[in-house]
Symmetry: C2
Subunit: 284 residues, 2 copies
């Protein structure tokens, strides 16, 4: 076994779930958590980590370093992590945008430890290790973004990829720019539509009695509106161009639908949408 | 017991669920289904009705007539139903828009049977009596729209309202115009956002592999895109003004959010949206 010690930096929903998932999948090595004392305590109680420790002690001991903080913290900490990590170790992250993180990593992972960007497409609208789950990654897509055109060929990288499979996720290898464009459509736009829908309905439909004149559709369509801005601030800041483009194109499509009301075009749009939905819900 | 015989006209998801729900809530009278022979057969198999029969025979025998067809069919059949129904009977419907149905009913229910418009805020993206469920209405809002300013005071209307409570739903009394405006925001706009999202993502994200680079958020936000256009055609046709206004205001809000990207305004919108979401998910 090449990976004997793992550091999880930022033991929240994703970091905590990664620890629980590794354990549930049979990982028998050490898992060190780097987080605030309160989070470390909660993570120990949940069994997501074996011990807590400061960055300066945890990183040099680790074969795999898993950065699961907010994107802005990952960007800040990357240079220090690259200095602390030992030669041959793998540093990876779980940030929701990849272009800026890969640019930063490219500048500091020239030699010694390896870096591979990651984005597990899993999560929920609540945060914290208290909500972590061993099966959070089950059936999820797990994007990996290499610094070069392909993953480094080392036993540790191979083993990390095999652990991703063992925790139930499905690896997709993508350049960071392609990842960021795709998620602007599949994740960032849906979030902004949900937030705007909840805010607009709240303005237009006065009173909680009338708000209850709603079916299950509105509940689905506003679930993402529970997501905390703290997380989205970094995502929107590091993918602004793609998000603006997705918003512009979506607004144009919505305006076209509005003009088409009453014509057969609307039926065609419902049929296209139904086909895309089918593709989204069909297992590979 | 004032209601001994119920006719359900259109035994699909809603009509079938109403029959199953009445039975599960302890209704011991007769339930007659009026639908195509194939649907009647399926409804009998599900136990949603006791027998099938043609409109001309079923309506005159009934204390309660429950119209659960598409809106355009309800509009067509109302004059005939008003002629066939006996004095004192209650005719109600389950159509998703109410203004046009109430206008039509106002013209033909001057005397004899009573009419009260209804809209159970329950449903799912699939149709048909095969998908009907006895608990479809559990915890749902059930809007009633009287022809006048209040419900008619008759034992049959009282008993119908009490059955709505027994099947688990919560009655809200609204004028038809208010109902149609509220649902343009809480139901019709969310549907069009979901349909447009699925269609736009399908255009912009090429290939099923990239479509899978998505988290649970996109699945929530596109569930409604499975809804059949056949149902939405009538809804959009009978509530076009309100739907256009909701679309225009939502598009303006989305454009404002796009302009606000990078500013503190976005945080404020996430907070407002989170509060509305909380109100939507808090039990009364």
């Amino acid at each position: 076994m090449a990976i004997e010690t793992v550091s999880i930096v930022g033991v929240g929903l994703i970091g905590g779930s990664f620890g629980l998932a590794l354990r549930a999948a049979g990982f028998t090595g050490r898992i060190i958590g780097v987080s605030s004392p309160r989070t470390i305590e909660a993570a120990l109680r949940r069994g997501a980590i074996d011990k807590g420790g400061p960055l300066e002690e945890a990183i040099p001991e680790s074969d795999l370093v898993y950065l699961a903080q907010p994107i802005s913290r990952i960007l800040e900490v990357l240079p220090e992590v690259s200095r602390l990590a030992r030669a041959g170790a793998l540093v990876t992250d779980a940030g929701s945008t990849k272009r800026e993180i890969l640019e930063r990593a490219g500048g500091c992972f020239a030699e010694g430890p390896f870096f591979v960007g990651g984005h597990p497409m899993a999560g929920k609208e609540q945060r914290g290790v208290e909500r972590a789950e061993a099966d959070l990654f089950a059936a999820a897509t797990y994007v990996l973004c290499p610094l070069g055109s392909d993953l480094p060929v080392t036993p540790i990288v191979d083993e990390f990829v095999s652990w991703i499979g063992k925790i139930g996720a499905h690896v997709v290898l993508l350049p960071a720019e392609v990842h960021d464009k795709v998620v602007s459509w599949t994740s960032h736009l849906p979030q902004l539509l949900s937030t705007t829908l909840a805010a607009s309905v709240g303005k237009q439909v006065a009173g909680e009695d009338l708000l209850r004149v709603a079916g299950p559709g509105l509940r689905d369509m506003t679930r993402l509106a529970e997501s905390p801005y703290e997380m989205w601030k970094d995502i929107l800041a590091t993918n602004r161009g793609a998000v603006e483009q997705a918003l512009d194109r979506y607004i144009a499509d919505l305006q076209a639908l509005r003009s088409d009301l009453g014509s057969d075009e609307v039926e065609q749009k419902f049929r296209s949408a139904g086909q895309v939905r089918l593709a989204l819900t069909t297992k590979p």
